[in-house]
Amino acid sequence: MLLIRCPYCEEERPELEFRNAGEAHVARSTDMAAISDDDFEKFFFIRSNPKGIIFERWRHIHGCARFFNAARDTVTDKFLVTYKAGEPKPDLEGLVSNEPAAYANRPPDQLNVKKPRRAPAKKKGEA
């Protein structure tokens, strides 16, 4: 169960209190009736579904009931940042790790280094 920080409550709360509400930053036109079929398609049907960072909406449904936005890594499920509805996309510089994600599918030879980076264990009799 994930912990999610509600930017309104300013608290990390368990996932059970929240509900996902789809991709964020998909703005509804202020002149909705006039938009083209292509624009409507983009607005209503097309979603990015990335492997990696997604900007998405959540609602603190069993808390303050506010909708807010989050940047989450779909590979690790890790929340990089949450922010209030209406705020611009945050700069993720420094929040995204360059390390390969722990959940990423990688071939076995990349998973298994010959020498793990760890201190050698003391052998029996050393003291």
Binding site: M32, F67, V113, R118, K124
Partner: protein, 998 residues
């Protein structure tokens, strides 16, 4: 002593505390503190089960949670029969009754053992190959036969009478595993004052100290030190100890699932205790101290009862005081098995010989074995175990071939080395890395805020494990906010054990022949040959080998088999182990009961039940209820001798002739308030709202952006800035969510407040020609005359002396009212109206009659007559769209090409040619019943009832271009024949609507 293999003076149990138990009905005696395994071994019983596939006789492999063989059924009573209990984990209690599994007619003579002889038939991948064709045979022949022949224990056939509890907990430092390093970590963390939880699967903590006779800490025997340290921890307020608790799953953000076995070890568990307690712990830091598990040697017939892990024999001796045999052989590829031989020898058990695959092992343990006069066979292999129901001899041969020698034994201890338990680390999404020097997978890159210590981290010596655990506990606690501690009581090892080395894969005795069974996975009956065969048949990835052979896929999760299987696959492929990769470790670490997961969510607690204010009244009237979401709604009110049909017919006629009372409280209700309330309503509903007069109502339609109907309901305007919105019963929550979504994110500039009032108002619908007469005596402050309160209007006033919002509206087509009163007054007002209604011949009616009445009028039910692909025009509701509006949710969707193209399904009425025939809801409509199958379906029936008021059946349907097909004859093909229908208006009764004012 009654138990022939209990050694006086050995072990830690108190012989005076005896416990009686039965195994397959035969009575035995053991000692309190025994496991079922140690107690059976004390009585010389090794044969305890039959294997999964070949029905081979099996004994105890281990003394712990990794046990793949000794699975038994524990029966407390008729309903409490727990299958597949590991005898090595089950604590003995007085009166315990255990049964062997997977055998017929008896454990020692099992007919299913013919599978062993027919084993070529059951080789690797047999499920996929042998039984592929014919397909139908799977369902009727193969699967039932395989299910009957294979499989382990039998599930209980009665509901579980036990209860299970659940706890959430938070701590700064969670230590998983109570061996030396885990205890050291807990001690260090606890000293800093932070909250510490230490969990271990055993009843007494200590881990490997339980059998490591050579360990000494702080001047004491290692296990005694562990008990002292645990007592010290138990006395601290900031420490919670969880013995008998297994961490089975490690989830995101240091969230760990554990099950605590509360009563499985008690002779007479009280009903006040839960059988198990599920712990869901969120920790700032986790210290993983899960130890290591010894592996077997892979050689021919290494599964005979009496062949077991060397460390298990030590545990049985040093903790339980039980000798696993009188003439014990040892087969090893590392030092640790020597310690078992030495302990047994010192306890007076004869060691037949130690067979060591290594040519020149050296060290203090080898020297001590020599000194004790134990015969060492170096550079040799045990190529076969003899015996059937019990090992009788080991066949020894030089490892590169040569003369065989048979040495009689009644137990054979084996060790090919130790596998660090990286299960939980891997579940935490950490990446294991292969350590070439010691040929094992160790924790590599961490994904979560945790650390591994001790044997699971590849730290072999006791001293280093204590150091590592203590340092990790102190660091974790400090980082989690613990106070600095100067001169903490760090435990010090005076003497310890610890081994590395050993071998992976099959030993010489695993043979290349097709008949040799050298077991890699005991529980799933996977042999070395099966793994090789999988590779030969083209499996390259270890994930494929695993699925093809089922190696490591049993409930023991491959604790003893994964590494061997991997090594054999790598060898056969001619690759290094890291190149082949390791299969993923998944939760649960050991099997978890359904009970602990389901927990309290059973029966009435499975889902909340919502009841209206009149529920008990309706129950007393004999109402039959139906579930509508979480609501219980009165379905119909049968009178004596009435079936549902008769009751509904009577109710339908009574409402139209006199009146009826209906509890409509489950309707969703939302209060939309604020200076911009009308503006908001304009945006959320298709209808125009700005000009709706105060005190008037309007039927509102809500769309999604794609133009399809989402919900509907009557909305009353109570003031310029206040709307009383009703929604469908099922749509209440999602409509509220959608309104909030738009208000918060798309139209945040609007000054509007939304409040759900669904449960604040009880709603009593009074419908029918006598409805005004029924409510009139109780209403104060509202003029009920048609001119003052016309159809579709709302007033606030009083009824029965309590506040009401009185709606003049109708979902029946009759003159009608919906009386909203605060829910607490709902029953009192209902009873007053009911008493008055009796004088006018009114009835109470339920949801079925409500459905029939509205269908007679062609009123739709969203979700029944619409399915998320129906537009207002399709449903004949285009009149509800404000034509002059420039925006509302769904306005753009409505002009999408497909939504305005011809050929859409439209809502119409259907009359069957035979008025007595009632169509089936969901039935398909076709134009030509004689066309070949598959027929072209042009519509379907959405609602269908017998209408007593119309004297015939009625139905609503969505039919392609239905609105332009009036009078057309179509067909509904059913299994019993084709039904002829005619398309008609969706309004069957009182088409002009005059009765609304009747």
């Amino acid at each position: 002593m009654a138990e022939p293999f209990r050694i006086s003076g050995a072990g830690r149990l108190t012989p005076a505390k005896t416990a009686r138990f039965t195994f397959d009905g035969k009575p035995f005696s053991g000692i309190e503190g025994d496991t079922l395994a140690s107690a059976l071994l004390a009585n010389g019983v090794h044969l305890v089960g039959r294997s999964f596939k070949y029905h081979r006789p099996r004994g105890f492999l281990s003394a712990g949670a990794e046990e793949p063989n000794a699975l038994v059924s524990i029966e407390r009573d008729a309903a409490r029969k727990t299958p597949n209990v590991r005898a090595t984990v089950q604590e003995l209690y007085d009166g315990l009754a255990a049964h062997s599994q997977n055998r017929w007619p008896s454990l020692s003579f099992d007919v299913g053992a013919v599978n062993d002889l027919a084993s070529p038939f059951f080789s690797a991948g047999f499920y996929y190959k042998t039984f592929m064709w014919p397909k139908a045979a799977w369902k009727n022949l193969y699967e039932p036969k395989i299910r009957a022949a294979a499989g382990l224990g039998v599930a209980p056939d009665q509901p579980d009478p036990d209860h299970y509890s659940s706890r959430f907990a938070h701590c700064e430092v969670l230590v998983l595993g109570g061996g030396a390093s885990g205890i050291a970590a807990a001690l260090a963390a606890a000293e800093t004052g932070v909250r510490v939880i230490l969990a271990d699967e055993q009843s007494e903590l200590g881990g490997a100290l339980r059998f490591e006779s050579g360990s000494r800490v702080d001047g004491q025997d290692g296990f005694a030190w562990a008990q002292g340290a645990v007592a010290k921890l138990a006395a601290m307020d900031n420490v919670r100890l969880l013995p008998r608790t297994t961490a089975f799953g490690y989830y995101a953000q240091n969230f760990v699932g554990l099950t605590e076995r509360v009563t499985d070890h008690l002779a007479a568990p009280g009903h006040d205790l839960p059988r198990e307690r599920l712990w869901q712990i969120r920790a700032k830091k986790v210290v993983i101290a899960t130890g290591a598990i010894e592996r077997q040697m892979v050689f021919a017939d290494n599964d005979r009862p009496g062949v077991m892990l060397a460390s298990a024999a030590r545990a049985y001796l040093n903790h339980y005081g039980v000798a696993v045999g009188r003439q014990v052989g040892v087969y090893t590829a590392n030092d640790s098995a020597y310690a078992a031989a030495i302990d047994l020898k010192k306890a007076g058990v004869n060691i037949a010989a130690i067979v060591d695959l290594r040519d020149n092992p050296s060290g203090p343990l080898i020297d001590e074995a020599r000194t004790l006069g134990i015969e060492l066979n170096l550079g040799r292999a045990v190529v076969k175990a003899r015996g059937n129901l019990r090992v009788s001899a080991m066949v020894v041969q030089p490892k590169n071939g040569g003369a065989e020698r048979t040495i009689p034994v009644d137990a054979l201890l084996m060790s090919s080395g130790w596998t660090p338990s990286v299960h939980l680390f891997s579940q935490s999404r950490g990446k294991v890395a292969f350590d070439d020097a010691t040929r094992r997978f160790l924790p590599g890159a961490y994904a979560q805020d945790c650390v591994s210590v001790g044997a699971c981290n590849g730290t072999d010596s006791l001293e280093a494990s204590l150091d590592e655990g203590y340092a990790a506990g102190a660091k974790a606690a400090k980082e989690a906010g613990g106070k600095a501690v100067r001169g903490g009581a760090k435990p010090k090892a005076d003497a310890g054990e610890g081994w590395t080395g050993g071998m992976l894969g099959s030993a010489p005795g695993a043979g290349a022949g097709t008949t040799v069974k050298a077991f890699v996975d005991f529980q799933n009956d996977v042999t070395a040959k099966d793994i090789r065969q999988a590779v030969h048949e083209g499996m390259r990835s270890i994930e494929h080998v695993k699925r093809f052979t089922t190696n490591g896929m049993a409930t023991d999760q491959g604790k003893t088999s994964n590494m061997h299987g991997l090594a054999i696959a790598a060898e056969t492929l001619g690759k290094e182990i890291p190149e082949v990769g390791l299969t993923t470790f998944r939760a649960p670490y050991t099997p978890v009961t359904f009970g602990s997961i389901v927990n309290h969510a059973r029966g009435p607690l499975f889902d909340p039940t919502r009841r209206t204010a009149t529920h008990d009244w309706a129950e007393r009237q004999g109402a039959v209820f139906e579930d509508v979401g979480q609501w219980k709604r009165a379905w119909y009110f049968p009178r004596a001798g009435e079936d549902m049909h008769a009751a509904v017919n009577r109710e339908c006629v009574t409402v139209r002739k006199a009146a009826g009372l209906f509890d409509a409280s489950t309707l969703g209700k939302i209060e939309v308030v604020g200076p911009d309330a009308a503006k908001f309503m304009e945006l959320l509903y298709t209808n125009p709202w700005e000009k709706l007069g105060v005190g008037r109502c309007r039927y509102g339609v809500m769309l999604r952006e794609d133009g399809f109907i989402y919900d509907d309901g009557v909305v009353g305007r109570l003031a310029a800035d206040r709307f009383h919105v009703t929604t469908t019963t099922g749509g209440a929550a999602r409509v509220m969510n959608m309104m909030e979504d738009y208000l918060q994110t798309e139209f945040p500039g609007l000054n509007v407040w939304l409040t759900s009032t669904s449960e604040q108002w009880a709603v009593i619908a009074v419908q029918g020609p006598k409805s005004r007469d029924i409510i009139a005596p109780f209403v104060e402050g509202i003029d009920l005359a048609d001119e003052a309160l016309p159809h579709m209007s709302v007033r606030e006033g009083k009824i029965c002396g309590v506040p009401t919002r009185l709606f003049r509206m109708s979902f029946s087509g009759e003159r009608g009212f919906e009386v909203n009163v605060p829910a607490d007054y709902g029953l009192a007002v209902w009873e007053a109206l009911w008493a008055e209604g009796q004088k006018h011949g009114a009835c109470a009616y339920g949801t079925e009659t409500m459905h029939v009445l509205r269908a007679e009028k062609g009123y739709i039910i969203v979700g029944q007559d619409t399915d998320g692909t129906v537009t207002p025009a399709d449903a004949g509701l285009d009149w509800a769209i404000g034509k002059k509006k420039t925006d509302f949710v769904g306005i753009r969707g409505l002009s999408r090409p497909d939504l305005v193209a011809p050929g859409r399904k439209q809502l119409v009425g259907l009359k069957t040619k035979d008025p007595k025939t009632v169509l089936e809801e969901g039935a398909q409509v076709v134009a030509n019943p004689n066309q070949p199958i598959p027929m072209k379906m042009i519509g379907h029936v959405t609602s269908s009832y017998w209408s007593e008021n119309c004297g015939r059946s009625i139905a609503l349907a969505l039919v392609v271009d239905g609105h332009s097909r009036m009078g057309e004859t179509l067909f509904v093909p059913m299994p019993s024949g084709v039904i002829e229908v005619e398309i008609c208006s969706a309004v069957f009764f009182d088409e002009k609507g005059g009765r609304l004012n009747g």
